[in-house]
Amino acid sequence: MEVLSQLAWGANGWADELAAGTWLTVRLALATLPFGLAIGLLVALAKASGERSLEAAANIYTTIFRGLPELLTLFIVYYGGQMALQRLVGLFTDSYVEVNGFVAGMVALGLVFSAYASEVFASAFKGIPAGQGEAAKALGMNRWQAFRLVTLPQLIRLSIGGLSNLWLVLLKETSLVSVIALNDLLRMTNLAQGSTKQPLFFYSVALLIYLVLSLISSRGLGAIEDYVKRGEERRA
């Protein structure tokens, strides 16, 4: 198996490059997550607000970012951001600016993630009886307390399943940033196969790494799910 020797660490093999790519993939997904969750929650709050104008604005947001192909969103953010920024900077100086691929990827993936997450949160909101909020009010809690102490714990419990799926989708979608020349796992693999002429081997390795990442995440998410659902009745 001389192919395997190409997986050596260091200058003679590609293992360190693949590892660096994997690290970027993981970092990108982790960096997108909080940003996507926060916007998703805000959009879901807007959808559950009962105020029609707010609901309409939130629905437009989800329709757009759920309907566009992720790749197109990425291009629009990357090239559009580049052009807009260039024009903005051009007002003051004539220096050249470049949009950071990592940030562009984070924004694009975050927009898509938040659109889907808002749907998950919105249906979780529907799963919490209105009586819960009323009871909290009757106990003298203010709105923030009621949200933090009564609604949020139930919201997390009801949405964790959907969010776990979205995380796995996000992890796979990070591969799209390889087309805007960001050195993620897939792009490193492209480089490796281009120089060694062993596409089958290197892409298999890359897909296996993705598979392992999903496997680790679903284990971790399963543990989190068990934890947030610990108050639930055990069902057979």
Binding site: T63, L72, I76
Partner: protein, 277 residues
């Protein structure tokens, strides 16, 4: 007891409806709607002011052709994938553990890895084995990027659809099998005539989602030089640096996805109307 009606209190009018106040929620809502409207107007304005007849006449036909390629890719992969998925789902539920394990590994591998990576694996991987594929007489198929992408899409969507079919078939109560068996139907008859029709109805919604996901992820084909809608758009942008082409593409994709979603919702309501209470 004198006249009782005299002591009754006259009916009172209901209190006036509290007027809806301009609370924080409404201010935010109207403000955000206004932002959307402004963005929409800006988009239309930029499409008109940036309209370049040359670019439009040269690249719009290509994008329409690309749209046709996208449609072909989606329709072919989803329908061929459905057939394959049915067999994979049956294999998943098989009593033979080797068969069911193999089907599980197939589904897990395709669902756990990115579609783009799968496309690369098949497209570049096939290129590595030109000699063998030529010897086997199938190189004509793998030579075309379009065919490689189509095959990858079929395999990918089959894995997702297999899970959908499996869940919906298993959601049919056991009593249906037992009832059919007591009527003397054998297993295959029961499956095709009793179980599958009911399962397909529960599968309608997730299948609709899968079609929409496929429309969106078909854009990945553009990365390996297939000129689908996304590919044609990328080509137009790389030659003209006219950002409006991305906006056209975005509008086309949004219209397709929204139409599909609405048509599918109507279809589903129509097909499940006997289940409504």
């Amino acid at each position: 007891m004198s006249d009782t009606t005299a002591g009754m209190i006259a009916a009172r009018k209901p209190p006036p409806q509290a007027r809806k106040r301009w609370g924080a929620a409404r201010i935010a809502g109207v403000g955000l709607c206004a932002i959307w409207v402004v963005l929409g107007i800006a988009l239309v304005a930029s499409l008109f002011s940036g309209y370049d007849a040359d670019v439009f006449n040269r690249y719009m036909p290509r994008m329409i052709e690309g749209l046709w390629v996208t449609a072909k890719l989606v329709v072919l992969s989803v329908s061929a994938g459905a057939v394959l998925a049915l067999f994979v789902a049956l294999a998943r539920m098989s009593d033979n553990w080797i068969v069911s394990k193999l089907a599980f590994v197939y589904v897990y591998a395709f669902r756990g890895t990115p579609l783009l990576g799968q496309v690369f694996l098949l497209y570049y991987g096939a290129g590595q084995f030109v000699d063998y594929l030529e010897a086997a007489g199938v190189w004509w198929f793998f030579r075309e990027a379009y065919n490689c992408v189509l095959l990858t899409f079929i395999l990918n969507t089959a894995a997702y659809q297999a899970e959908i079919f499996k869940t919906s078939i298993e959601s049919i109560p056991r009593g249906q099998w037992e009832a059919a068996s007591s009527l003397g139907l054998h297993k295959a008859q029961t499956f095709w005539k009793i179980i599958l029709p009911q399962a397909l109805i529960t599968a309608l919604r997730p299948l609709g989602n899968e079609i929409i996901l496929m429309v969106k992820s078909s854009a990945v084909a553009s990365v390996v030089t297939v000129f689908d809608l996304m590919g044609a758009t990328k080509l137009a942008f790389s030659r003209t640096y006219d950002f409006n082409v991305y906006m056209w593409a975005a509008i086309i994709y949004l219209m397709i996805v929204e139409t599909l979603r609405r048509v599918w919702a109507v279809l589903e309501r129509r097909l499940t109307r006997h289940l409504e209470r």
